[in-house]
């Protein structure tokens, strides 16, 4: 009985310690002063984290917008208010779906790649090698990746929204024949820039920090074997997804919950 409680306590302490370590890494990565070579490294990471995620974001955004429009239409047409489709598509995308789905896709596409890359660098002793050359791997490897991830996610989320709304318009206006004027005016009447767009942007930024943080920490802390890296990659996707969904609830409650 006591041993079980003890084991529970030990596990708790372990988790707490890991959280503390990741916090230290985060703070060091955030406050790492960029050196002479930091700019090209940052650009490079923006490319591999942001630009390479564009395709999946655009395709998913398009389809989600189209599906939303189709589903919304079939429900709203029963009440004779199918011109509200634009409003529904835009609001659900901007407030909720864009940041969340982008973050989930980002965790799978870029987060896992970050973890695997850093883990592999650790396994092939590249991180140790950097340290022995006298370069802090936190600055050179972790910091540019962290900043790039944090910046990319809001941008991707904005693109997701726009593509999704365009997809919704394709289905709603061109296919189902909603009058284009009321589609847009309904949308413009209900979507508020500072309330909806900015809040969506804040969500995406928070998710960007969370997902990238988890990804680089899991890579940096991984056991440097092929098994260890594969486990770390899995953990990145699982933890990042859970963190995104949990944070989304908290943020939504704070922003729209009238607390």
């Amino acid at each position: 009985m006591f041993t079980k409680i003890q084991a529970l306590g030990a596990a708790g302490l372990d988790k707490l310690e890991a959280f503390g370590r990741s916090g230290i890494i985060l703070s060091q990565a955030v406050f790492a002063i960029p050196g002479r070579q930091a700019w090209p490294l940052f650009i490079q990471q923006l490319y591999s984290v942001g630009v390479l995620s564009l395709i999946i974001i655009i395709v998913s955004g398009l389809f989600i917008g189209m599906v939303l429009s189709l589903q919304g239409y079939t429900i709203l047409v029963d009440y004779g208010s199918e011109q509200a489709v634009g409003q529904m598509v835009a609001l659900s995308l901007v407030r909720e779906l864009s940041p969340v789905v982008t973050a989930l896709l980002f965790a799978g596409r870029a987060g896992s790649a970050l973890t695997a890359e850093i883990g592999l660098m650790k396994a092939t002793e590249q991180l140790s090698s950097l340290e022995m050359i006298g370069v802090d791997p936190l600055r050179r490897i972790i910091a540019p990746r962290f900043w790039a991830g944090m910046l990319s996610l809001p941008l991707l989320s904005m693109i997701f929204s726009v593509v999704g709304i365009w997809g919704g318009m394709l289905v709603g206006v061109d296919w189902l024949g909603i009058y284009e004027g009321s589609f847009w005016s309904n949308m413009q009447n209900s979507v508020d820039f500072s309330e909806d767009v900015v809040n969506g942007l804040i969500k995406a930024l928070v998710f960007g920090v969370a997902v990238t943080w988890i990804a680089v920490y899991q890579g940096y802390d991984s056991v440097p074997t092929s098994e260890g890296i594969s486990q770390a990659t899995t953990r990145t996707v699982v933890y990042a997804s859970l963190a995104v969904l949990g944070l989304d609830f908290i943020l939504t409650a704070l922003m729209f919950g009238d607390l």
């Binding site: 090209p40 650009i43 490079q44 923006l46 490319y47 942001g50 630009v51 564009l54 009440y79 208010s81 835009a90 901007v94 990319s152 809001p154 941008l155 991707l156 904005m158 693109i159 929204s161 726009v162 709304i165 847009w184 949308m187 413009q188 009447n189 979507v191 508020d192 820039f193 309330e195 909806d196 767009v197 942007l201």
Partner: protein, 152 residues
């Protein structure tokens, strides 16, 4: 040369993100750059706001001229005090204007409609609209209807 193409791609990415934000601002949320936040505050007391919320539209002849910024219960009058922000270029609302809570369509949202009166003086920042008409509440309507039926 490889680094050039890469920088170009990243540049396009940043541009696309900024452009997307612009589209969201102008096209989707209907934000206009010139209007800004210049507006003046007008208050009105209602007996029943019946589902009016902050951010609801304030209209005149159906044209949007502002929005509801806050709704609180007035402790002296025991009525709902609605605070509205009216666009400052709409400065021709007479002091005896009336405000009523209307509904767009059968299931639509609640909004405030303003009708001007004949007074020479105009509403200023912080003024109250005296003449108000509360929201129609379905239960009360049905109650009245039944009462009328019974008395006939």
């Amino acid at each position: 040369m490889r680094i050039r193409g890469l920088e170009l791609a990243v540049g396009f990415f940043m541009l696309a993100g900024a452009l997307a934000l612009l589209v969201l601002a102008l096209k989707v949320s209907g934000l206009t750059l010139s209007e800004g936040s210049r507006s003046y505050k007008v208050y009105a007391l209602f007996e029943n706001i019946g589902g009016l919320t902050s951010r609801s539209k304030v209209t005149m002849s159906g044209v949007k001229i502002g929005h509801v910024t806050a709704i609180v219960l007035d402790e002296d009058q025991l009525m709902a005090r609605v605070e509205m922000a009216i666009d400052s270029n709409v400065n021709y609302l007479s002091l005896d204007s009336s405000a009523s809570i209307l509904t767009s369509g059968l299931l639509g949202e609640k909004y405030i409609g303003i009708t001007t009166g004949a007074d020479e003086e105009m509403l200023q920042d912080g003024d109250f609209i005296e003449d108000t008409q509360s929201a129609l509440v379905l239960e009360e309507l049905i109650g009245k209807f039944l009462f009328n039926e019974a008395t006939e």
